[in-house]
């Protein structure tokens, strides 16, 4: 099973790794620099000693070196002090050596040419390391006479090495401390930043277990959209459940009366058959209406694909012509290119089907359906639908009554009232608007709808006749 990626973990790794790498590189570089710097100052110190020796030295006529160390505290005087000096001829004969050498067998390395310098580090038999500076120069001991001499100074590097090591230890300690502190701060920061996510998680769990109905507010911008959408989803689900409960209740109650009448009619004998028929009709209509209400998924626009309206209207038109084949009707449709409905396909089909069916039933010969998309607030365009006919129209007094559930404007046309009530229900669920008026063009009824809409780019049909 693949482990789900963790944003926190990825972030920590993404930051810690380069951090540690760059710190390691810094430590390494600083250590090198320190060592090189120490080496440089050692060399300078040794050079300084050589200059001092040169000024204090005198070459006698017999070829002896007379070197008086003026400072009795000088390290060159004390035996095994860690600082040693020597003067040699070009051939390597020792002319003078410092008292500090005592009985140490020190090899100052090969002689160097006049004007040349050599610097090296050597490890002695006892394991200690010394740094040796050799300088060759021409000594004018008499006018016209010069000798090639090699002055050498050496220093024990133990102290310096100890300093280096201490520096490195301190460096590593400080930087490690820095890295740890930074990671701790990072961790704390992440926890703080991700607290809203944990809160969201927790609130969803509460909704799931029923302790909470909706998510709270106050989420940061990035999560606010998610919270809002989830709340919309929750609301529509709650509405749907309420509707189902409502519907079942209504259904159960409203069936009781016709059933009672039927029972009485059965007891009555043959002449009651017509009454039975009538009650069966009523039951059928009640069941129809309630089931259609329950089946409406209306209202939820979250995650709903757009339903292209043009092919739907073309199909409905063909269906109407077949269903109303006994009448000579002309159905005109004008659909804007790409007009689409945001919501359930079944709902909009039912809605338009009812309106067109009514129009076809009542018209004298002409029905017109228009559809277009109007941009309203950003991202909330409206699908505007208009169904008109050239029939008698719906009298103003009846218009409100017709929308009232179950009331019919005219008993003669079967199912007229229920159909429009259904349409009104669905439109309300989608937060749309419905208005009934008179058609200016066809002089019959005119029904206008406003529903959530969107323009679909891929729609091919632009005009249907």
């Amino acid at each position: 099973m693949a482990r789900t990626p963790s944003v926190s973990r990825q972030l920590v790794f993404a930051i810690a790794l380069p951090l540690i790498l760059s710190f390691a590189l810094t430590v390494f570089a600083l250590d090198r620099i320190f060592r090189d710097s120490a080496r440089e100052s050692l060399r300078e110190r040794l050079d300084q000693e050589i200059i001092y020796l040169v000024t204090a030295a005198e070459l006698t006529d017999e070829g002896r070196m007379d070197l008086r160390l003026l400072d009795p505290e000088s390290r060159l005087v004390q035996p095994r002090s860690g600082q040693y000096a020597q003067v040699r001829t070009a051939r390597g004969r020792i002319l003078w050596h410092s008292p500090s050498i005592a009985d140490l067998a020190l090899d100052f390395g090969p002689v160097v040419g006049s004007g040349q310098t050599s610097f090296e580090e050597r490890t002695l038999k006892d394991g200690s390391v010394i740094g040796i500076l050799n300088r060759g120069l021409e000594w004018d001991y008499a006018p016209g006479n010069s000798a090639h001499l090699v002055f050498s100074v050496a220093e024990d590097l133990a102290a310096q090495r100890a300093r280096s090591a201490r520096f490195r230890r301190q460096l590593i300690a400080w930087f490690s401390g820095l890295v740890v502190m930074l990671l701790v701060v990072l961790g704390g920061l992440l926890r703080h930043v991700l607290r809203p996510v944990r809160r969201l998680e927790q609130e969803i769990a509460e909704v799931d277990s029923g302790r909470r109905a909706q998510l709270g507010s106050g989420f940061p911008r990035e999560l606010a959209g998610v919270a809002r959408s989830l709340n919309a989803l929750l609301r529509s689900e709650q509405q749907r459940i309420a509707r189902y409960r409502d519907t079942l209740g209504n259904l159960a109650h409203s069936l009781k009366t016709p059933l009672a009448v039927m029972r009485a009619a059965l007891a009555g004998g043959a002449e009651q058959r017509q009454a039975l028929d009538h009650e069966i009709d009523r039951i059928a209509q009640i069941v129809d209406h309630q089931l259609q209400r329950a089946a409406t998924s209306g209202g939820a626009t979250l995650g709903q694909p757009t339903v292209p309206i043009a092919p739907l209207i073309a199909d409905l038109r063909a269906a109407m012509l077949k269903v109303h084949a006994a009448r000579d009707i002309c159905i005109e449709t004008e659909v804007a290119a790409g007009a689409g409905f945001v919501g359930d396909r079944g709902d909009v089909t039912e809605l338009l089907g009812n309106l067109l069916d009514n129009a076809c039933k009542w018209c004298r010969g002409r029905v017109r359906l228009q559809a277009r998309v109007e941009p309203a607030a950003p991202g909330a365009a409206r699908l505007r639908l208009r169904v008109e006919d050239d029939g008698p129209g719906i009298a103003p007094a009846d218009r409100v009554r017709v929308l009232d559930r179950g009331v019919r404007a005219d008993e003669r046309a079967p199912g007229h009232g229920l159909g429009l009530a259904m349409v009104a229900d669905t439109v309300a669920l989608y937060g749309g608007e419905l208005s009934i008026g008179a058609s200016a063009a066809l002089h019959g009824a005119c029904v206008d709808l406003s529903l959530p809409g969107r323009t679909v780019e891929s729609d091919v049909l632009t005009f249907t006749a």
Binding site: A318, L321, K322, D328, A465
Partner: protein, 229 residues
């Protein structure tokens, strides 16, 4: 007529068979989609009644297949599902009419009779005569690509004439295609409809698509060409 009833609910199936036979029709029955399809393809049916919720093969699929096989007799869907989406699906799949359960037997009979008379263009989805193009599925007409608004009667007349392009079609035949009951027939109606058709199809009077043959009937003058979908 010879009627095929495809219905899985036994009680309803038997009662339909009894009632339709009593009305003088020859009735075949099938209890599931596969049996129904076999009967629909093999027997000389005049009209079929199909329930949508069938076992083994759905009613919609049955209708699609019998249309694909070239059977163009009337098909009436009889079902409890009567949301408009179901009606549209049934009619688009190939049905000609739709009756919801529960129904009145008298209404069913009337609609069956009407189906017999109506022209069913299922075998030819597109008809083309000269510049006139007729889409029998969408029930739309275009002349030189421009759509023409026709009433359903005008459309049916034109469809029938175009199906028999080049042949003479009598007024009687045309009347039967439009009306289900004889007493509704008015001999003038056809003339009025033809005149309206001519005005709508050929306003400039350059095409003269429909020819009147006195005493015999009407004929489309333009030959049928293979339709370009």
């Amino acid at each position: 007529m010879r009627i095929l009833v495809v219905e899985d609910e036994a009680a309803l199936r038997e009662s339909l068979k009894t009632d339709l036979s009593a009305a003088g029709h020859a009735v075949d029955v099938a209890a599931d989609g596969e049996e129904g399809l076999y009967a629909a393809l093999e027997y000389p049916i005049d009209v079929a009644i199909v329930d949508l919720g069938l076992p083994k093969l759905s009613g919609l699929e049955l209708i699609r297949r019998l249309r694909a096989a070239g059977r163009s007799y009337g098909v009436l869907v009889l079902t409890a599902r009567d949301r408009w989406q179901d009606k549209v699906e049934g009619l688009s799949a190939g049905a000609d009419d739709y009756v919801a359960k529960p129904f009145h037997f008298g209404e069913l009979q009337a609609r069956l009779a009407a189906l017999l008379r109506r022209a069913s263009g299922w075998s030819t989805p597109l008809l083309q005569c000269g510049p006139m193009a007729l889409d029998t599925r969408a029930q739309t007409v275009a002349v030189n690509g421009a759509p023409v608004e026709l009433t359903s009667f005008e459309y049916r007349l034109l469809e029938h004439l175009m199906l028999h392009a080049g042949e003479v079609v009598s007024k009687t035949e045309l009347t039967e295609k439009l009306y289900q009951q004889d007493f509704e027939r008015d001999s003038n109606v056809i003339e009025v409809l033809i005149a309206r058709l001519r005005r709508k199809l050929d306003p400039e009077e350059t095409l003269k698509p429909i020819e009147t043959l006195r005493g015999r009937g009407y004929r489309i003058t333009l030959a049928r060409s293979p339709a370009v979908p």
